[in-house]
């Protein structure tokens, strides 16, 4: 559905003609979003136009025009999933790529103020110059820092020491669906960016929650995110060429190891003990398949997988990284680690001790830059399931349920045989929180495979309900009742509160409700 010419010109007057387009070829390019659960990689609905604002003022002006003329808008930053596109016909897409500045790095108070298209890698490079580092989500270092803090989930394997994105947000500037601007916390009181809560009740409470509003409640135009101490060099020197580049020199007081356990219960015990011992920089459950994907090219992966070696050696394994601030701390952490491994019969995998693995994994751990290529490489498409956050034990039960369910689809031949258990399990806040998501690889150019993936996702979501495993990470249009329709009634009807919030803060339903909720 095309935009009316006069409305198009209004938007054009805000951003300039070079920053708006309704050219079908341009719009078509936005419809290519590789992460989804459908046949093909193309979204069904095209935006009516794409607009690229460069400032808060321009976002405000666009939102006000949308409200005046009944146009739905949907903002996106770096996203690579179908959920970044409008879910209704005639909507405009706000591509925030021009808002890509790091506005401030406060070294003493350990935060950075960023615009929505600042990517994790960009921030990490600048933060390291000041001896700081940032949490990077599992989707990789090419993703928006602000999007995961304000709008979409926020899991990342360094969460053990650097938390969860949704809990790492400080002051934030928020353009409401109506075009009004809120500045949350200390920012609104002109006191600085250091706090996102108050005065009084915290508006963060309606802003994002666990999973984020997915662009359904306005646009976040600036935000302060927490940074953490970095004990490495101010600039990382690399050798070899991308994507196979690795750290030129090993980091001091840094040790990465892959540990395997005889049972999933022992793995869980080890994770719990490491958490409460308050050691470690990074922990990530790695499935045999995922280790193989990290290590090998596509063809080599298949050959390696078929030997059965990975499955045998790494059935229950996790990657654990110590990164200490002093030699004494390094020794202390290693001593604790050894004790915990002894108690849980944990074995150091010889794979992780090779020079190649040390180099490769150390780099991947710091830069979180190898996940995505691993996910897409073998079959072209992937998706994920389960993913609710609470405890290590919940994570283990998510693994068991997911593995059981996946076997059926693997046996049908519609998703990749990755052994069933292709889970990423992470811990946050020194073990206080944990979660698992279960990955599936499928061929989205193959109808049977794509349909199989969709069926698996629907069935896994149902398993979350039936087995009380928490709401899944991606509910969007995967369970047949629309967003929140299945889990709202099972979770104290939270969807009805979302509709009330939407009614108060977006009475014209202008900010695309597809992935959030519509007013009552």
């Amino acid at each position: 559905m095309a935009l009316r010419g006069d409305i198009y010109r209004l938007f054009e007057s805000v951003v300039g003609p070079e920053n708006i387009s309704d050219d079908p070829a341009v719009l078509r390019s936005y419809m290519y979003q590789p992460f989804g659960a459908k046949e093909g990689v193309w979204a069904d609905i095209s935006p009516a136009a794409v607009i690229m604002p460069s400032s808060t003022e321009e976002v405000v002006a666009i939102a006000k025009i949308c409200n005046r003329y009944g146009i739905v808008f949907k903002a996106m930053s770096t996203g690579w999933g179908m959920h970044n596109l409008p879910g209704v016909e005639g909507a405009v897409s706000l591509d925030l790529r021009r808002m890509n500045r790091i506005l401030e790095i406060d070294e003493k108070n350990m935060y950075a103020v960023v615009e929505p298209h600042v990517i994790c890698m960009q921030l990490q490079v600048e933060a390291m110059k000041k001896g700081l580092n940032c949490h990077i989500i599992g989707a990789g270092s090419n993703t928006s820092v602000l999007a995961s803090a304000t709008s979409v989930v926020g899991y990342g394997p360094d969460g053990l020491s650097m938390g969860f994105s949704g809990r790492n947000l400080l002051g934030v500037e928020w353009v409401l669906p109506t075009g009004d601007v809120l500045k949350l916390g200390s920012l609104g009181a002109d006191s600085g960016w250091f706090c996102g809560d108050g005065p009084g009740p915290s508006l963060r409470g309606i802003m994002r929650g666990w999973e984020g509003a997915w662009g359904g409640l306005g646009v976040f135009t600036k935000g302060a995110v927490k940074l953490f101490h970095w004990n490495g060099p101010t600039e990382l020197e690399m050798k070899r060429t991308p994507p196979n580049y690795v750290l030129k020199e090993p980091l001091r007081f840094f040790k990465v190891s892959l540990f395997s356990f005889s049972t999933i219960e022992k793995l869980a015990e080890a994770a719990l003990k490491l958490g409460e011992a308050e050691i470690g920089y990074f922990i990530s459950r790695l499935s045999p398949s995922f280790v193989g994907l990290q290590l090998a090219s596509g063809a080599n992966y298949v050959a390696t997988w078929n030997t059965g070696m990975l499955q045998q050696m790494l059935k229950y394994a996790f990657l654990f990284v110590i990164f200490a601030n002093s030699e004494r701390e390094f020794e202390y952490q290693q001593k604790l680690l050894a004790q915990i491994l002894e108690e849980t019969d944990g074995q150091t995998s010889p794979i992780s001790e090779t020079k190649e693995m040390q180099e490769q994994t150390s780099t991947a751990v710091i830069k979180v830059d190898a996940v995505v290529r691993s996910c897409f490489r073998t079959t072209g498409g992937f998706n994920t399931s389960f993913g609710s956050m609470d405890t290590v034990d919940l994570a283990m039960n998510q693994i068991k349920a997911g593995t059981e369910l996946k076997d059926k689809y693997i046996n049908k031949g519609v998703i990749m045989d990755d052994g069933g258990d292709n889970s990423a399990t992470l811990a946050f806040d020194q073990g206080h929180l944990a979660y698992t998501e279960m990955l599936i690889m499928y061929d989205h150019h193959d109808r049977d495979s794509a349909e199989g993936a969709c069926q698996y996702l629907a069935e896994s979501n149902q398993a979350c309900l039936d087995k009380k495993l928490g709401p899944p990470i991606f509910q969007i249009s995967q369970i047949g009742k629309g967003k929140h329709g299945a889990f709202g009634p099972a979770c104290f009807n939270y969807d009805s509160w979302l509709r009330k919030i939407k009614g108060e803060f977006d009475p014209n339903n202008t900010s695309d409700p597809t992935a959030y909720a519509s007013p009552e």
Binding site: A189, S191, G192, P201, S202, G205, E211, L217, K335, L394
Partner: protein, 498 residues
Amino acid sequence: MMNPVREYRKCEIADKRQLEDIVGADNVIDDPTVLEEHTHDMSFTAGRPPVLVVRPKQAQQVQEIVKWANRTLMPLIPVSSGPPHFKGDTVPALGGLIIDLSGMKNILRIDRRNRVAMIEPGVTFGALRPEIEKHHMRLMLPLAPRVTKSIVGSYLEREPILVPKYHWDMSDPLCCTEVIFGTGDMFRTGAAAGPGTLEEQWESGQAQKNPLGPGPSDLFRVVQGAQGTLGIVTWATIRLELLPSVQKLFMVGCERVDEIIDFVYRLQRLKLGDECLILDRLNLASILEQDAQSMEELRSALPPYILILVIAGYDRFPEERVDYQTKDIVEIAERYGVHPVTALPGVDSRKLLQALSEPSAEPYWKLRYKGNSADIFFLTTLDRCPQFVETMGRVAGETDFPTTSIGTYIQPIQQGRSCHVEFDLAFDPNNVMEAARTKRTFEQASRVLMQEGAFFSRPYGMWSAMISSQYAENVIALRKVKRIFDPNNVMNPGKLYF
């Protein structure tokens, strides 16, 4: 003030009977002495007497009371801690009904494996601490809370805890809650929302630790900091930490706060140490000594400001943990030109460690010096603390308030990214002139500090009016939130911006 709740000055007999049907006759109190006790607190807040006090014992009773209030438009003022109260938030602005939650004091669950406890709002720090310690865990405490202080109340107020490394987010250590909104709807926040009953969730390995959600909502955050204006929490889960088996106390004395700020920044950045706070000599003396004379004696022996740092070892190699951290901290201290010591003249280290790990002995430490204290507290960053300390002193000079009666407390929070700053103005409540001067100083200092950028994140009493004029867009947004969760404004009307 938001409508449509009405002012209540007296209780109809029918009202009382209906409430008796809900909570039982013994739990509906109209004794004038009890009502009078709720008409004021230790703050300067003026109030009106409540018409009744009700004491529910179960969440279902709380829910029925809230629904009843929506029918009758009776204001409800939830109170979970015992007296004395200091902030005016539990003083009725319009009369109404005090919901005294102190009888809901069940410890519902202690989960060592997942380091979490589930408690009702009447559970105090004093009551829970020994139970937790049986499981070799500890609670995160604010600075020597009064013995009657509700844990849920403290965490809902976002009171700062003493160990900054455990304060990852502003909402910590609060996890999930069960809340009765002002509409009368029951809700569970975070992972507790479901799917499944609590028992089913425990069966699937959950422990109600994730505070976020359900979905794209964090409704516990709107209840937190709301001073009872949006709902009533009927239980909460809270994070616990391992109980130290070894502790070592360090102190750094200094003439001015700015001498130790950079050192504190470094410690927090490296997550070194456990308890970390700065007190001035009045507050340290108030915490350690029982009477004014002993306090004066100790104070005269102390430096003006004291950084208190505790290093702890837990279950595994505790001595070695303390040893490596001690050595690292000493090295850092040398670089910053500060001198941590394990003893200061007059300070009993064991007594201080004890004071940091349990509720205040009676009388409550803020009452020991002069009988009352008017506390000004706000958030800022550590580097700005010296400026605010100077401002407080300047305003005290202008109002002739004796600087020797000002206690100072600086608490790093959010792992050092910001801090709670508190000026405790000690005064004799029985001296009319002194009380008036304190009130004048409190008001003037609050205004000046806010103008200079102090963030009053917990705006009690007069602060909410100051915030309203400065923070208009957010107040409008918060009133929308109020309309959603308490459309009839029955929850503690007249507080905050409602």
